[in-house]
Amino acid sequence: MDFKLTKSQKEIQKAAWEFARGEFDKEIIIELSKIQKIPDKITAKAGELGFIGIHFPETYNGGGMGLVEYALVAETFCRKDSTLGTALMFCAYGTECLLRNGDNTLKDTFLPDIVDGQLTSTAAFLEPGQGNDLSKMSTRAEKDGDHWIITGKKVLVPAAPTADVCIVLCQTDADAAPPAGMSLFLVEKGNKGLSIDHPRQNMGGRMLPLADITLDHVSVPENTLIGKAGSGYRLTQQFFMENRIQIAAQAVGTAQGAFDRALDYVKQREQFGKKLARFQVTRHKLADMASKIAAARYLTYYAAWCFDHKTIEPHLAAMAKMTATRAALEVSDEAVQLLGGYGYMTEYEVEHFYRDAKTAELFQGPPAVQKDIIADGIIGKLK
């Protein structure tokens, strides 16, 4: 066992921090968050510098690194700003499905531009009126010559209005009982029959507004099918597993960023004639916060490491996601409290760390969903 970061890991961490420090502007972030937009210039630059595709192979302009390195970048970005950091790390949301299972020509077509931040992606899994439950799939894709015709409705898709490509989960085998018979497709923004609702107003994660998507006989070529027909549910669960580790890393950074701001504040702010940082209760709050961050961090690193070493299991990813997002929520909550009235004010930032932390706890399934997954993993089949 060796917790030491490698030289390249240290360099990546350093580069990410310098990029964030140089490019993340508080006022711009607050303004763009209000109108739910992501700063395209920064996206492009993040792509250019290799942060977005850090975990993609070099053949596609990626960094050729793993999820541990992704975690270091995500943590650093979100520490500087939870909203922009999350948005940047979601520029390629869903593209892992394509990378790990897609047709080569399809990969060649899209991966380099996505990795470079020229295109952004998203993914659509959920359907109306069934929560996180995918055991029913109303969106259908039917084979029509060398094309597939997709029809259905998807909900709560992050950044749907701005994404250039979207991975869509559909039922391809009408006779199979879900979760069997599902498949993943890549759909492009321009596709005829694809309409995207106005973004919803987000409570948190405001650079990634959720929106609903309607597919009305959208025709896509054969090679947009990702993986084998019928493998959709399995590949979706694999992606969720990877994405949950990514969210965990973002949450660790979100927690750290809120902690940093609270620590700075209580070291300067005086009340009742002494620095807040001298009150035992303030000190104990910070101690609790730091402990939660540390515990979440190493569990997340462990999950990322297991992913890179092909020993990951869904329940470990779910543990990391649940633990880290919970830590982020509790830490940012205390940060808001420590800043008092200022903590509630937009310009002091911690208020959006708090909203973003709750968003992370809810996205890709709230705690109850994570616990179902964890329980399946640790209890196993029952006689």
């Binding site: 055991s135 029913k136 009742f272 937009t346 909203r355 809810l362 996205f363 709230p366 109850a368």
Partner: protein, 381 residues
């Protein structure tokens, strides 16, 4: 058994208020949240309908209602799921200063407008560098002939933009003892030297106009002092009790509303198999646990309301209620969102606004840490 004894008159009043709110207020709430302010006309409607300062004496146009009417107003307003038209602050926290400490002339001059809603009030206590620490107050008030000159800045002032009347706490620079230096003054809208600062952007409380207020050589007539000179601290301490109790009442009602909205959702929404969310064991336990906390808090709060109305010394219990109920709000809001799942990320989720709004309640009117310090002190620890 019921802890509080509401009469038929109380119940009728609550019914009338509910009807009024459903017709005149709730339909506009989303717009006000977008506007980040509530039109003054809404305040006037409240006043005209007799829902402001229900305790005020008939001679000023009030109905002379007991404390339970104030409780009813606070509870029902909280159920409108917005914070902009914070009549509770006006009716049961600020105007009572004028009623309790004002001269007859001041009462005659101001109370009728406060009751009718033509005069919206604000209290300016908190300062950028003081927060919950009143002793650290910087704003000054100096006598100059038959005028008083106020200088200083205040922040986080609710109704800061709408206020026609501001009760300002300021200290006499000549007085050493900070606790004897503070006096209260009435500053009217339009007084030279009194300026409103930015409308502050915040996590929630969108419809509520929270602002900074600035006083630069703001001259007011000497008779605008409220209560005796140097008694400001005592007056604030006295009135803070009811302020904190009102916060607890609002917080309790907010928790009840959020949970109610969540239960409705869980009963009316299903998983893919068509099974209602409320049939999942985990959701059931979460709801039962939240409902238990809500009922437990309600019993404690009702007892406290009764004791407060009876004039008992409830400093410890009030501090406890303020922190306990506002912490409860945070927990309930977060757990409720969990039951909405990914949908909880959007403002379309009926509890999303509550999640943002309640977060300030553990901070204002004295942070919950200050509440615990007060409780410890008066418990003799």
């Amino acid at each position: 058994m019921e802890i509080l004894h509401y009469t038929d008159a109380h119940r009728d009043f609550r019914e009338r208020l509910r009807t009024f709110l459903a017709e005149e207020i709730t339909p506009h709430v989303d717009q006000w949240e977008a506007d980040h302010i509530v039109p003054k006309t809404a305040w006037q409607k409240m006043g005209a309908a007799g829902f402001l300062c229900t305790w005020a004496a008939p001679e000023y146009g009030g109905m002379g209602g007991d404390f339970l009417y104030s409780v009813i107003c606070a509870e029902e307003m909280a159920r409108t799921n917005h914070t902009g038209l914070c009549s509770m602050l006006h009716s049961d926290i600020i105007v009572p200063y004028i009623d309790a400490f004002g001269t007859d002339a001041q009462k005659k001059k101001y109370l009728p407008g406060c009751i009718s809603g033509d005069m919206i009030t604000a209290v300016a206590m908190t300062e950028p560098d003081a927060g919950s620490d009143l002793a650290g107050m910087q704003a000054t008030a100096e006598k100059d002939g038959d005028e008083i000159i106020i200088n200083g800045s205040k922040t986080f002032i609710s109704n800061g933009i709408n206020a026609d009347l501001v009760i300002v706490a300021a200290k006499n620079p000549a007085e050493e003892n900070p606790y004897q230096a503070v006096s209260l003054y009435i500053v009217e809208d339009g007084t030279p030297g009194f300026k409103r600062g930015r409308h502050l952007d915040k996590m929630g409380f969108f419809s509520q106009d929270t602002a900074e207020l600035f006083f630069n050589d703001c001259r007011i007539p000497a008779e605008n002092i409220l209560g005796q000179e140097g008694m400001g601290f005592i007056m604030l301490m006295e009135k803070l009790q009811q302020e904190r109790l009102m916060c607890a009442i609002g917080a309790q009602a907010a928790a009840e509303l959020m949970l109610e909205l969540t239960i409705d959702y869980c009963k009316s929404h299903t998983d893919a198999a068509g099974k209602p969310i409320s049939k999942s064991q985990a959701a059931q336990f979460a709801i039962v646990e939240m409902m238990t906390d809500v009922k437990v808090g309600r019993a404690f709060l009702d007892k406290l309301i009764g004791s407060h109305a009876a004039g008992e010394n409830v400093v410890v219990e009030t501090s406890m209620a303020k922190y306990w109920t506002t912490d409860l709000d945070k927990k309930i809001a977060s757990r409720c969102l969990d039951l909405f799942g990914d949908f909880g990320i959007t403002e379309d989720c009926p509890v999303a606004r509550g999640f943002r709004d309640v977060r300030v309640m553990s901070i204002f009117a004295g942070t919950n840490e200050v509440m615990k310090g007060i409780a410890a002190k008066f418990m003799g620890l």
